[in-house]
Symmetry: D2
Subunit: 361 residues, 4 copies
Amino acid sequence: MNSFGRIFRVHIFGESHGESVGIVIDGCPAGLLLTLEDFIPDLERRKGGTQKGTTPRQEEDLPIFKSGIFNGKTTGAPITILFENKNTRSSDYEKLRDIPRPGHADFVARKKAGGYEDYRGSGHFSGRLTVALVAAGVIAKKLLGLAKTSPQNSPQTPLQSRGASEDPASEGIKITSKILEIGGETDLEKGLQKAIDAKDSIGGIIECCTNGLPIGLGEPFFDSVESMLSHIVFAIPAVRAIEFGTGFVAAKMFGSEHNDAIEDMNGKTRTNHAGGVVGGLTNGNELVFRIAIKPTSSTPKEQTTLNWESGKVETVSVKGRHDLCIALRVPVILEAVTAIVLADLVMAEQKIPRIINPRIL
Amino acid sequence: MNSFGRIFRVHIFGESHGESVGIVIDGCPAGLLLTLEDFIPDLERRKGGTQKGTTPRQEEDLPIFKSGIFNGKTTGAPITILFENKNTRSSDYEKLRDIPRPGHADFVARKKAGGYEDYRGSGHFSGRLTVALVAAGVIAKKLLGLAKTSPQNSPQTPLQSRGASEDPASEGIKITSKILEIGGETDLEKGLQKAIDAKDSIGGIIECCTNGLPIGLGEPFFDSVESMLSHIVFAIPAVRAIEFGTGFVAAKMFGSEHNDAIEDMNGKTRTNHAGGVVGGLTNGNELVFRIAIKPTSSTPKEQTTLNWESGKVETVSVKGRHDLCIALRVPVILEAVTAIVLADLVMAEQKIPRIINPRIL
Amino acid sequence: MNSFGRIFRVHIFGESHGESVGIVIDGCPAGLLLTLEDFIPDLERRKGGTQKGTTPRQEEDLPIFKSGIFNGKTTGAPITILFENKNTRSSDYEKLRDIPRPGHADFVARKKAGGYEDYRGSGHFSGRLTVALVAAGVIAKKLLGLAKTSPQNSPQTPLQSRGASEDPASEGIKITSKILEIGGETDLEKGLQKAIDAKDSIGGIIECCTNGLPIGLGEPFFDSVESMLSHIVFAIPAVRAIEFGTGFVAAKMFGSEHNDAIEDMNGKTRTNHAGGVVGGLTNGNELVFRIAIKPTSSTPKEQTTLNWESGKVETVSVKGRHDLCIALRVPVILEAVTAIVLADLVMAEQKIPRIINPRIL
Amino acid sequence: MNSFGRIFRVHIFGESHGESVGIVIDGCPAGLLLTLEDFIPDLERRKGGTQKGTTPRQEEDLPIFKSGIFNGKTTGAPITILFENKNTRSSDYEKLRDIPRPGHADFVARKKAGGYEDYRGSGHFSGRLTVALVAAGVIAKKLLGLAKTSPQNSPQTPLQSRGASEDPASEGIKITSKILEIGGETDLEKGLQKAIDAKDSIGGIIECCTNGLPIGLGEPFFDSVESMLSHIVFAIPAVRAIEFGTGFVAAKMFGSEHNDAIEDMNGKTRTNHAGGVVGGLTNGNELVFRIAIKPTSSTPKEQTTLNWESGKVETVSVKGRHDLCIALRVPVILEAVTAIVLADLVMAEQKIPRIINPRIL
């Protein structure tokens, strides 16, 4: 279904070329100040069209608040945020109706909906919906900034020495994502140029780090922190893999190497191979994970695929307006979904009150 | 929380050295034949003590059916399966009470429960609970074997050419897992010997492949197949990473390389870089994913950690009875959780009836 | 939270005098034809201002489809329906800010939200949101009309003889509600006149009957049909009681009187004291329940209440535009929520396919 | 499904004549002291066989703790409680196999499970499972006794004057249930004698009152307090109706009569026609509701029903060991389910900490 979360809970909807995309956010505490300005920076970060390698499709991407906000503050009732779709060129897609684009959801979407799917620009499967996730992420981040947590967490340091810091200057929970690689290159310009030269699309690797987390978020089995995060991370189109801490490399290490020695009563560890999660729970050290983004499915290169009508394989070249490297736009989306999960887990541990600065008790 | 699933739904409970571990399975159709013999093979596969590199702790691991089965068949009511803990040696752990073992959940568990946790053998955080997952997996596998699916899926073939097969001889949905690497070695004996020589523990990589799946399982966003699978896979202790299809390697590929060309009306693709999931939905090709298992946290090597009482760092050597390489026991657990998720998704698509061979309509 | 259902699932949002009220419907099968005309009749039935005893506030109440519908049919993606609030007169409420109206949610809403609630016209607590329930109900009813059920159900007959009918002409599941009493009078005009004469508001009793249901909907304990129905029925503002079949009268009967004798293999019973539910499950006979609606809280009469600011009790006369008897508008809302629950339960039993008349398999 | 609750969450399982009945309780805070003695009083209250009008079947009804409790205290992990079925006489039921008893779930259970149901003593549909609800209720009550609430609530007073009391001596939340009527008689002995004389079974009406509740539990729509309570109350077999405050009588009242005047800043109202719930939320006054229990379906009188095998109607006299008036055993069950819901809602408002008296922070 299209819902996620237990206490801070989101419901996503919309289609790429339909009326709108949007999100309903249930369970947000009352009294949280929310202005349009809170949303602009992250929405701008997500937007295509302004940097090399991203789609020239430009949407204004202004959030329209439909419910749950009154006098600039949340009321505790469900918050509904809409984004209208204006800059659509459905004609690009009309001619592709019978040709499922390789790597895209066209084929499976059509099978799933028995032919009733909105096929324009991937419809409900479109990355366009991530704009709604980013909006919900803005709210989640604001909440996390208010969380009452102990001050054992550290700024970002190299992985092998990423333990909790001695610095007690906690200021809530902070999430940052960055691109580590494009097309296998840590020099991102170089990776992008590779794609431009090849007239092809390219993928990348993104890392997400969170500081300031309390110890003990999550549950040992089904609701482990890794379970919850990976669940929502794979909701982002084009994600193909996730690893926590040393991740796949852990499989090649000895136990004595991989284990992080606990050094103080706040749980600070000398190293952080665990990426801040042990036994499914946050351990108070920096939460670190990385994801792999596949190359954009829409590549300028010619490809073969099936024609639904003729039942025969033919050649297709996907025109439309597309990102050469969708990974460039993912960091802010990754922060958003991470914030959504962590807000839920932090609220489950009662680290955020039901009312922010109540005026009446 | 300790529940997972929407239609085929499991609830796990228990502690390593408590009375028992167990599982409640809700939503299983009525009329499914279940005998003790159905459970023995997978429970044996999971069991330690019989192969080099696994714990000498031996539990009989016989499932005790407490509800939901009548005259050897499921009734549609919740199925409760218990495993008693008999072969416990809690004294091994009593002396470690104040010394959180590195890599284990001891520290976070104590913080989470405020000192009330059952600390014996990791308590509720123990890998012991996976015996209950395996039992639920047996039931899920039997259900999947009965699923009405189209016959477009293939046996296991090399990744680059893992498309759907022409063979129409579908016999339900089949899941198999295997170890790809131990300690970085594809020769598993060699990997294990490395650990034995180093007197240390070691990790590994496991692959899981599923054939016979219908097209269209899952949902595009929060309930994508990757979301659901990764959610439950990270419930398995020691899992640190998951990747679908080409996974992390996808981030280095060009779009034209990574896209799988659709070749027929059943969705068969020439290659299977997507690992059988596109747009969050199964595409009818083999479902392929790999996970990384960290080295067993309990290593014979001396390590430093904190002493809760003194607040000082000291040296600890974890005795107890442990697996040198827990990854050896994971394949059957991985199959089980995969089956649990897929049974749920397959039932959501009405591919398994509410009653198996009804005697009364 | 503001969600309900497991397979056919609704999420409600909005405020009486905010931008809009609306609903997201997740899990609706693809391929269902939905036109504006489908919605008009039930929306008209709910609308105030056209009959004696209802509010003169008139909203156009035209549903705006924001997602999930394409070319006039559902796509299987979440359906979002908005109703804009145009005809609001918030000034009516501004002066009441500090005076919680007796019988209304003003006081508890303020406490719950710590003073951040949208207090205009009851905000998120307003009966205005039922327009969204009615819209979801229209979709649920259309689905129920397509349900594959056995033809053992009967038209509406007196309670004591309401068994299943012999008539095999089943045409899906049909729900009808009617007012039984207004202000204690079965002559409804008389009841209403009583209120008009007394310059006071008045309540009523509504009955809801459903025919054509399959046997076995629901679960014996937490998801009994009565549990699910009462859960959603009490979501309708002003509902104070619910009873199934003979209801409270059953408490005064002998077992031999109350038991309904089963007369044929379709489960047809001679009488229908059970109201069509036994053991928490539908039994194939007419589903019958009644609810009590309290008198509208906004009465023209003067009342005493607290003044938040002064902390003293004072006299208030609620002006605004209100229903003299809110019960008059409830039947269509009651049908709607009943349809929402039944659609969910019927889909859980796989009586409605995931795709209506698929064009592609 | 067989689960209920969002934060304090229960999963019920078992059959009347199977191995056992039981419950898994997830989300209970750590550190709660639980002894066998805590359970005895309520389990004794529920037990049949000791008072006139209840079944002579006697079970020892000792809870067996299978998980989640360590050194006498909860650990925060799921608590599993089993009750073994020892005193079963399935032969009573074997002969009834083909004769669905009127008023019982036999017929619908068989249809639902396609003939695979455990039919002995109503199987999973049996009132026997309420023993598990009572056990969970004991835990919920202990939690509610620890809730941090404001002291605006009152002891039990006549309905028309049941406002919040001035007495500040709050001691957590307290729930009490009592029988108001048996067979229409408030003199309960008289009602019971009526049934004995008539050689028939009889029903009754039970009231449940809760004091000490904070203001603002619940949500305005789907998770209104009435929604949550009625949901779980109808999980109790034989419940046919529920009403809050004045309930059905409210439908006959004028608004000026029914509205409860707020008298102080704690929300104390002069009267309590609302039964302590306004707008779906608790208002700090006594929570009051009543339920109707139908007469025990198993009556000594001869009745007609269908024979599954012959397809013909025949006469049956239900022997077995049964309650003449099941209502006599319901009060403690009603308290239990009320406590389960309220514990969940109170935890949602963060009025109970995640750890009771933590030893480690």
